[in-house]
Amino acid sequence: MKAAPIFEAGNHRWWILYDQDEHRVIDSNVYVMESNGQSIILDPGGFEVFPQVFAALVEVVPPNSLKAAFVSHQDPDIASSLPLWHACNEQIQWHIPKLWDGFIRHYGALEAPLQDIPDEGGDMLIGGRRLEFIPAHYLHSSGNFHLYDPEAKVLFSGDVGAALLPPGHGAWVDRRDKSGRAFEEHITKAKYFHERWMPSNAAKKDWINRVCKLEIDYLCPQHGAIYSGDNVQRFFEWFDGLNVGTAINE
């Protein structure tokens, strides 16, 4: 697994850990934000990929800087590593959707400090910087949040924007291409994921209306590659026009 920087301004940094080496489980991105020597890990990943995620994390931040973890929803590729992280660092505060509290505890580490995020969202401080929990219910999970950093203009968008890419993939949807061709090519790998995993057109519209008002330089999905610059708006337009929940619609 590799680590690459997304954003850096003084002591405020974002990284992506991506392209996992284990291919029998779905390839997932993990994100890390560091502020003033404190860090948070976002969707820290599954039990099976924990050793490689941990080794990649140590490339970018010291593990004792880890103060918090954000869990967008209950899926195993997101949070089944919780008991292992807890074994390594009992001080990590876990911010999880309230709806899934009793479910996530099934992964183990019953004594881990879980902070429930209410349905309406909220915010948290890490290293003196405020991060916002943006409700994204039914995209795809019924209790689901994204995380927004207004200073770095980073939106961690969970499964929204996800693409199923082959091993060896890059961290970014090609940033040098201004024509939109790279986006068009990339989005073909995101189409089925959104059609099939996203259940609700109403939820999609509601999310787009709210998120479009935010200033976003980097849209960071949990699978695939990061959208930046013009590709962020291209993604919103594409998603807006996509029919989702196709297992029922068909």
């Binding site: 039990f47 050793p51 490689q52 140590v58 593990p63 390594c88």
Partner: protein
């Protein structure tokens, strides 16, 4: 082995790597400054020029040795975290076996899984120890490089004293070189002690 002890070594690895990289950049900068100074003064500092050249070459060699450090740390961390994974699984098997025993039940496949799990942990412990020994060897190579660099710095001080009448600030340059080398030397020595204590702990487990 205690996970907290492993975490301390992981944190120490991060700190040591950062400190070594920063110090090596500093050494390279000092060496370049010395070379520029020598060029500016021409033949009058020819002796110091040899020292500055050697200092720069050693700095490049140290950078090369340090670049292997990260390549060895990452597999060690992965191996230790795989052990943690399997200890977790083994603990679940153990809880299940105890619950069944209380009910007077005996489950052969469960015992087999427990044995497999323990075998895997033992294999990973052996592998982790091998990686740790390689890491210590890499640190030893770095330490040897630093000792050579310290020797070059000592020669630089002698040459600086001999060339004092040229007016070039060689004593200060040599002192800066010495400080940069001492910083990286201390970082490596501390790190090696931490690795040694981990090695001592891991040898008692095998």
């Amino acid at each position: 082995m205690d996970i907290q002890q492993i975490m301390q070594v992981v944190d120490a690895s991060f700190a040591a790597r950062q400190s070594i990289e920063k110090s090596l950049r500093e050494i390279d900068r000092r060496a370049l400054n010395a070379m520029v100074l020598v060029k500016r003064h021409g033949n009058a500092l020819a002796g110091y020029g040899v020292v500055a050249q050697a200092f720069r070459e050693r700095a490049a060699s140290l950078k090369e040795s340090a670049s292997h450090l990260q390549g060895t740390i990452a597999p060690l961390i992965q191996a230790r975290m795989r052990i943690l994974q399997h200890q977790r699984v083994a603990a679940s098997f153990s809880t299940m076996a105890q619950s069944m025993a209380r009910l007077g039940l005996d489950c052969a496949p469960l015992k087999n899984s427990q044995a497999q799990s323990q075998k895997f942990i033992a294999q990973e412990e052996t592998e982790a120890r091998g990686i740790l020994l390689r890491l210590i060897a890499t640190v030893d190579t770095l330490q040897e490089g630093i000792e050579e660099q310290e020797y070059v710095v000592t020669n630089g001080r002698i040459e600086a004293a001999l060339a004092e009448d040229t007016g070039a600030p060689l004593v200060r340059v040599s002192r800066d070189m010495g400080e940069a080398v001492r910083t990286v030397s201390n970082a490596i020595r501390t790190y090696r002690h931490q690795l040694e204590s981990l090695e001592h702990e891991s040898s008692t487990y095998i």
